[in-house]
């Protein structure tokens, strides 16, 4: 059952894969119980007196009737069996998925912020550390430890086809892990109400073969290239002077950390935490009027004059 990118009945990794059969079991038991109860009710009701609406109940005599406690005993004992199975299966599944892997191949620090995801890739050499936003790349087949931080309010990290939810809570670090056994793009969504734009706080996990992943990491580690054209150079000063109040572009004077890191902005598929596809039209629209597209988010409308906008875009497009 594919059912869309956030459906978790199709899974692409061992975490989620453990949960799917248990989910199906519980769904089938649940549906079965409902059908049985409906059938029992139907059978019981078929004996009902057809009622003309004159409601003369005293015409139907009261009787003490059979002692039906047997029904209760049978029903409860019968119900207990699927419950016990569910309990045991739950414990087994829980043991399999709880707790981070003993030997993660990769460790990420993900910070939930209103309303985007800050992703940090650490490295032994501090020069190699980099950050990105809303798009997480991982190598296929490798268990990845994700350390979750909350910068402001509680968010929840959920990429259904790879793993269940774990909250990002300010003041503590929660651990979760994901692993993709197939390459692909897996959609994630914040799953704890976090304010006005909770609805637009998605992220993507891109699982790729190890070689492609290493190539991506290498590219991300590079600082931004110097601008090659005059327009791009003008754009760079604008970015440093204005965008740099909140954003960072490594290798330039734009060094603030309250907004997403833009060093490799154009390598990402979407903007504004999954709200828009990242193409030049949307990027221009976002810069000029983010409040229209994601009302209440923390980026003010820029309202650049057309030549300034063109220059800015010229520079930003070089951030691949």
């Amino acid at each position: 059952m594919s059912g869309g990118p956030l459906s978790y009945l199709s899974s692409a990794g061992p975490q989620a894969q453990h949960i799917v059969p248990l989910t199906w079991y519980m769904l089938l038991v649940s549906a079965g119980v409902c059908l049985i109860i409906a059938a029992l009710l139907w059978a019981a009701l078929r004996r009902a007196q057809p009622q003309d609406q004159t409601l003369q109940l005293d015409r139907i005599p009261i009787e003490r009737g059979a002692d039906g406690a047997r029904w209760i005993r049978i029903g409860v004992i019968a119900s207990s069996v699927p419950l016990a199975v569910a309990f045991l299966w739950t414990m087994i599944t829980l043991a399999a998925v709880v707790g981070p892997p003993a030997h993660p191949g990769l460790t990420l620090d993900v910070t939930g912020r209103q309303w985007w995801w800050q992703v940090a890739y650490s490295a032994p050499n501090p020069v190699d550390v980099f950050e990105t936003a809303n798009e997480i790349h991982i190598p296929v087949g490798v268990p990845v430890l994700v350390r979750l931080h909350g910068a402001d309010v509680i968010h929840s990290f959920w990429v259904p086809q790879l793993a269940g939810k774990t909250d990002a809570i300010p003041g503590q670090t929660n651990l979760t892990w994901i692993q993709a056994d197939r390459p692909g793009r897996y959609l994630g969504q914040c799953s704890e109400f976090c304010g006005n734009q909770h609805a637009h706080m998605q992220f993507e996990v891109v699982a790729e073969p190890q070689a492609d992943f290493d190539h991506w990491v290498g590219a991300q580690r590079q600082a931004a290239l110097a601008p090659a054209t005059a327009a791009a150079a003008r754009g760079l000063s604008l970015v440093e002077y204005r965008c740099g109040l909140c954003h960072r572009v490594r290798g330039t004077a734009a060094g603030a950390v309250s907004g997403p890191d833009l060093t490799h902005l154009m390598s990402r598929r979407s903007l504004a935490a999954g709200t828009l596809l990242n193409d030049s039209g949307n990027l221009a629209g976002w810069i000029q009027n983010p409040q229209d597209l994601k009302p209440g988010n923390l980026m003010p409308n820029q309202r650049l004059a057309p030549p300034q906008l063109a220059d800015t875009l010229a520079y930003l497009e070089t951030l691949r």
Partner: protein, 646 residues
């Protein structure tokens, strides 16, 4: 005048003169004074019911607005802030201002009549609990109508609820309003507990109590212990917001999860408190339409208590994704699965009662019988979320929204509507219209299932909760549209219910004492009952006093027409806790202004705190203290003090 300390009550039968005397002692003062000072549980019960249904309608309208916004992807009927206030206020309204008060209202009205008593144990406290409910409801809605409604969900997690992220008055209205409302819930719970244990008809031992008594009593015992948790949580939030304390903010060493623990330690027992009394109503009403006693009475009574006891041990299942250690998760998961068992007892008891009886289809019966199916659907979706790893996928999606609406509408609203069809004749002397009732039932039933059954699928397809809009992933759009249509059909059903009530008040068929030929004590008095309920105190010998001659009883018969007269003042009988042996004559208070005065003082106090006008708060507090002093001032007629010496 000598007031004897001991007395042997006269035993006799009713007479016109006796009725007239009782009426003088019990009837509410006429006119405006009576409206403001009455302590009659029947009047208070009806006020609760009417107010709660009003909030049901308002909460329903809020839901319809939300459903229009969600009918399709990326709609812009509502701004995010408007939507967030709507969903939060909808939850708050339904859970706090409808679901519990409606059951308090029915219980308030019915309990003394079911128990063979003339009023609740504390009539003035009863009046107070209503006035505070009304005042706090108005307080909370004053926020909403001024654009300052709660906006962080009914569960109100920090840090989003803190001042840094929520600087307006929204959260202060919610926090203070909830502390205020908590007073009503607490005193109401105390009243039910003492009434259940000390003011029953002689012979009504605990194994003869109607299940509604078991349900509301269990809920009240729980509320007494857990409401302080949520009141404290809201108070500490208000302190963090307004006085710079650090209970919840990590920067100051506070713990966001402390909020969640305190809230859910309250919240989980609360959701059982808002369904167990309703289940009791089904357990008492369904057998009447099956023309036989309830199957497994003792098991059902015990399962009511067992459900609540389990209910104290599952709160962490609302917090499975917060990063708690695995062993703790395993315990709470197990308990959450185990709690299905006592619920199953009730379900099978009801089905067996229908199967082994002679069911008669009336509108009340339809609501009581259909709730069994809705209960089970809601129960199994809860069973699914009880499993931690499954919950890690299901939680915070529309699957949970489907679950909570099946349990709340299925186990609260449907029984309540059924209870209205059942007890409306007793309260008003008229029957609700049966034909309109069928339309009412089928519209509600079809509409509800059309709206909420597909929602399970919407949740399995991953749609998260509490989003003001969505993109059309894998069929969300069409499913949401179906839900929206269903919700409007359901709303029409609710409207038909209100129309039936209003219409039948004026022109319903006259009911008489016992239109359903039902077994319990309330059906032995007139419809509506006189102010004093019972002219003579009945003596009870079985669970079904009015059916004894037909189904036989173990020993003697109950006595309805002959019993203690208790007419030397405004009196009723006090009885022992387990066996209901008479052990004192209770002198009951007359109408009093103290409850309204106290509620007014407290209102001024809370408004003062909200606006930080300390003079107003101080004044309110002073009025409240004086009202309490006047209230508790020992009175000779209530035998709280010796009469003045000569």
């Amino acid at each position: 005048m000598r007031l004897p300390e001991f007395r042997t009550p006269n035993v006799g039968v009713d007479s016109m003169e006796h009725d007239a005397r009782l009426l003088r002692q019990w009837e509410t003062t006429p006119g405006w004074m009576g409206i403001l000072t009455t302590v009659d549980h029947k009047v208070i019960g009806i006020r609760y019911i009417v107010t709660a249904f009003f909030f049901l309608a308002v909460g329903g309208l809020e839901a319809l607005l939300m459903r229009v916004q969600l009918a399709g992807p990326n709609l812009t009927l509502l701004t995010p802030d408007q939507y967030n206030q709507l969903f939060s206020t909808h939850g708050m309204t339904m859970i706090f201002l409808y679901a519990s008060p409606i059951l308090s209202g029915f219980s308030n009205y019915l309990w003394p009549l079911l128990l063979g008593s003339r009023d609740m144990a504390f009539p003035r406290l009863n009046a107070l609990s209503y006035w505070i409910y009304l005042a706090s409801g108005l307080f909370l809605y004053a926020g909403f109508v001024t654009g300052n409604g709660p906006n962080d969900g009914w569960f109100n997690y920090v840090p989003y609820a803190s001042r840094d992220y929520n600087p307006g008055l929204n959260e202060d209205f919610y926090a203070l309003g909830m502390v205020f409302l908590g007073i009503s819930t607490t005193v109401g719970a105390a009243n039910f507990i003492v009434t259940a244990f000390r003011t029953r008809a002689p012979g009504m031992s605990i194994n003869r109590l109607p299940i509604l008594i078991w349900g509301t009593l269990t809920a009240s015992l729980a509320n007494l212990i857990v409401v302080p948790a949520v009141s404290l949580a809201f108070f500490l939030l208000w302190m963090d917001r307004q006085f710079g304390s650090h209970f919840f903010d990590p920067a100051g060493g506070g713990k966001p999860l402390l909020w969640q623990h305190l809230f859910w330690i309250f919240g989980h027992p609360w959701v059982y408190a808002i369904v167990l009394p309703a289940m009791g109503m089904v357990s008492d009403g369904l057998p009447v339409f099956c023309r036989r006693p309830l199957v497994g009475y003792s098991l059902v009574a015990l399962s009511t208590v067992a459900t609540m006891i389990f209910g104290f041990g599952v709160w962490v299942h609302h917090m499975f994704a917060t990063g708690l250690p695995g062993l703790g998760l395993a315990f709470f998961s197990g308990a959450s699965i185990a709690i299905v068992v006592p619920s199953a007892v009730a379900v099978f008891a009801w089905i067996a009662t229908i199967r082994l009886g002679r069911p008669v289809i009336t509108t009340a019966f339809l609501f009581f019988a259909s709730m069994i199916l809705l209960f089970v659907i809601g129960g199994v979706s809860g069973f699914m979320t009880a499993s931690v790893p499954v919950d890690w996928q299901l939680t915070d999606t529309y699957f949970v929204v489907a679950h909570l609406h099946y349990v709340l509408i299925g186990i609260n609203v449907f029984p309540v509507v059924g209870a209205t069809y059942f007890w409306f004749p007793k309260m008003t002397g008229r029957l609700l219209d049966e034909r309109l009732g069928r339309w009412n039932f089928w519209t509600m039933f079809i509409g509800f299932n059309l709206a909420f059954l597909p929602m399970h699928l919407t949740g399995l397809l991953g749609m998260p909760r509490r989003v003001y809009t969505y993109a059309d992933y894998g069929g969300w759009g069409i499913l949401n549209l179906v839900t929206t249509i269903g919700s409007f059909v359901f709303a029409i059903g609710v409207l038909l219910f209100f129309v039936n009530v209003l219409k039948s008040l004026k022109s319903g068929a006259l009911a008489g004492k016992n239109p359903w030929d039902a077994p319990t004590l309330e059906w032995s008095v007139a419809s509506p009952p006189p102010a004093y309920n019972f002219a003579v105190i009945p003596t009870v010998a079985s669970r079904h006093p009015l059916w004894e001659e037909r189904i036989g009883s173990e020993g003697a018969l109950s006595s309805i027409d002959r019993g203690m007269m208790l007419d030397h003042g405004k009196e009723t009988i006090g009885t022992s806790a387990l066996d209901a042996q008479p052990d004192m004559v209770l002198e009951m208070p007359a109408d009093s202004i103290s409850p309204l005065l106290l509620a007014t003082g407290l209102s001024a106090l809370f408004v003062g705190l909200l606006l930080k006008v300390w003079v107003l708060a101080g004044l309110g507090g002073a009025i409240a203290l004086l009202a309490v002093l006047a209230w508790l001032w020992p009175r000779t007629d209530l035998r709280e003090r010796e009469p003045a010496h000569g």
